[in-house]
């Protein structure tokens, strides 16, 4: 009954979800078995993924900006979470996950029409309401990731309008291509939890919007340092924990795939964190907290597309490679390209997610403890598919972001005035103060 829904998250090699279902607790609805174990895990995962944005990502980003802009960043994340929820309800889910053509889904489930208590995602044995909600939390965090590119200088209205349009124009179609039975799914692209759908789209769009918005005053030599590194660590730690829901939840079943995804995810995060502090220790003599937790996020982003296809050693390898590449990508974007992608969305999320996507085909091989490739597919052939997926997604993200900025600027404005930037967005845009030390 569900067109496209879960052929996506994965292919051939998993009839496992239905196997699990027969073994554990089930209940019947309309003659179709629902699996209480799977349902319980995806309910939990949904909460974990929302927790990644609220407050995980919000704190991660808020600690990295100046004290005078802390509230504006929290506002961006919270505002995006609310708006994306309604967009997902109104049209996003239908356009991403119902039958349409290879490029975009259909309109049959606008406003979640026809989805009730008895609607089931058959391949997973979970309620469709739960699937809608689980996917909604992904649709929330992806545009929220882009916030890191434009902090400290953008108008709040621009954030909201851009994010709403971006979700419909970039996120929803790409989700359909990869997970909703679209053309990339047909080609056999492997993206377990969002290397293409989440990190490549957000990373590339972040780079373009940062470039169009222009750098913060004083970039790159005299911008102000992060105001609360401890807050960055707290947010990163929440992201790490929440990422278990993101990756292990993407198995859509409470079983071995989820558990293996969790191990791979965890090991990649741990490895990349250490990679960053080792590089910092060699380069600057002192390992920093912000460096360590940025490595954590790089490792998590890198392992995301591969997480359910690989074994534990694949997680360590991705952590090593992703950690090193993301580290030097930060310098590359800010020094070589001279683009003020302020909180390194492209360098950490984009480069991490793309790296993981491109390596998934290799690390999924049984040699590394992975699930193997589809019958008749070779690692080189899979790499080609992955490369096409990344390339088309990145190009579409860049072009669409450029066009959206052109559209929204005359409507709601884009960059704040010099005066507002100096004063801080908390006061200028929101009329509030983040810290009040005097009575």
């Amino acid at each position: 009954m569900h067109g496209g829904v879960p052929t996506w998250r994965l292919p051939e090699n998993r009839a496992k979800a239905s196997e699990c279902r027969r073994q554990s607790g089930t209940w019947e609805t309309g003659g179709i078995a629902m699996d209480s174990g799977n349902t319980a895990w995806i309910l939990t995962s949904t909460a974990l993924v929302l927790f990644m944005t609220l407050p995980g990502l919000a704190l991660f980003y808020a600690g990295l900006v100046q004290a005078r802009n802390v509230l504006s960043v929290l506002m961006h994340c919270m505002g995006i979470a609310c708006a994306m929820s309604l967009v997902w309800f109104a049209a996003g889910y239908s356009l991403a996950f119902t039958d349409g053509n290879g490029w975009i889904g259909g309109l049959s489930k606008l406003m979640l029409a026809g989805i009730g208590r008895d609607s089931v995602v058959e391949s997973a044995g979970i309620p469709e309401t739960l699937f809608v909600m689980f996917q909604m939390t992904f649709a929330i965090i992806t545009p929220a990731l882009i916030v890191g590119a434009f902090v400290e200088r953008i108008r709040f209205g621009a954030v909201m309008l851009f994010s709403i349009l971006w979700l419909v124009i970039v996120y929803v179609p790409v989700t359909h291509w990869v997970w909703g039975g679209g053309w990339l799914a047909e080609m056999g692209v492997m993206d377990f939890a969002g290397g293409i759908v989440v990190h490549a789209t957000a990373g590339m769009s972040a780079l373009v919007i940062a470039w169009m918005l222009g750098a913060r005053r004083g970039f790159p030599d005299s911008v102000h340092p992060p105001h609360a590194p401890w807050m960055v660590m707290v947010g990163a730690a929440m992201l790490w924990v929440g990422w278990f829901g993101f990756n292990a939840g993407s198995a859509l079943a409470a079983g071995g795939d989820a558990a293996m995804a969790m191990i791979a995810t965890h090991l990649s995060a741990a490895t990349a964190s250490l990679v960053w502090v080792v590089i910092e220790r060699i380069r600057f003599g002192r390992p920093s907290l912000i460096g360590l937790v940025t490595g954590t996020i790089a490792g998590l982003a890198t392992v995301t597309p591969a997480s359910g296809f690989i074994g534990p050693s694949g997680g360590v390898i991705l952590g090593l490679i992703g950690g090193v590449l993301c580290y030097f990508a930060v310098d590359f974007v800010k020094r070589a390209l001279r683009i003020d992608d302020s909180l390194d969305v492209m360098a950490v999320h984009g480069v991490g997610g793309i790296t993981g996507t491109l390596l998934t085909g290799f690390l999924a091989s049984a040699y590394f403890g992975g699930v193997g490739l589809a019958d008749g597919q070779t690692a080189a052939g899979q790499f080609q598919v992955q490369l096409i997926g990344v390339a088309v997604t990145v190009i579409w993200s860049a072009v669409a972001t450029w066009a959206l900025v052109k559209i929204i600027t005359p409507i709601v404005g884009f960059r704040v005035s010099n005066q507002a930037e100096l004063e801080g967005l908390d006061l200028a845009e929101h009329g509030e103060a983040g810290y009040r030390f005097q009575p």
Binding site: P220, P225, R283, I290, G291, Y327, V330
Partner: protein, 112 residues
């Protein structure tokens, strides 16, 4: 009467207070301040980028003492605050024209 303003390394504050207590100077006002002198500031590195911290966190203490105690107080502060490294701070001594205790209305040295 003398008014003493001293700029200190934050971690020397407790020792300074103790040293002043030993010579029976009780009562001072503390502020967290930022500034620079010959120390100029330092750099911090986040995600590979160096940030110049031009204004270094310091502690400012202010106290009023009778003329006979001023030299001892300055000596006590110096002794307790000195680490020998650049950035130890400075002491300024000003003539104090008048003082009054708000609760009792006492004036002059009695008010200190």
């Amino acid at each position: 009467m003398k008014f003493i303003i001293a700029i200190l390394q934050p971690h020397r504050l407790d020792d300074v207070r103790e040293a002043l207590g030993e010579i029976n100077v009780h009562g001072l006002t503390v502020s967290e301040v930022r500034g620079y002198g010959r120390q100029r500031g330092h750099t911090e590195i986040y995600r590979g980028a160096e940030y110049k911290i031009n204004y270094v966190p310091k502690i400012k203490i202010e106290l009023a003492v009778d003329d006979g105690v001023a030299d001892d107080a300055v000596a006590a502060i110096t002794r307790a605050a000195r680490t020998g490294k650049i950035g130890d701070g400075k002491i300024f001594v000003l003539e104090l024209g008048e003082a009054q205790r708000i609760r009792t209305g006492e004036t002059g040295p009695d008010a200190l």
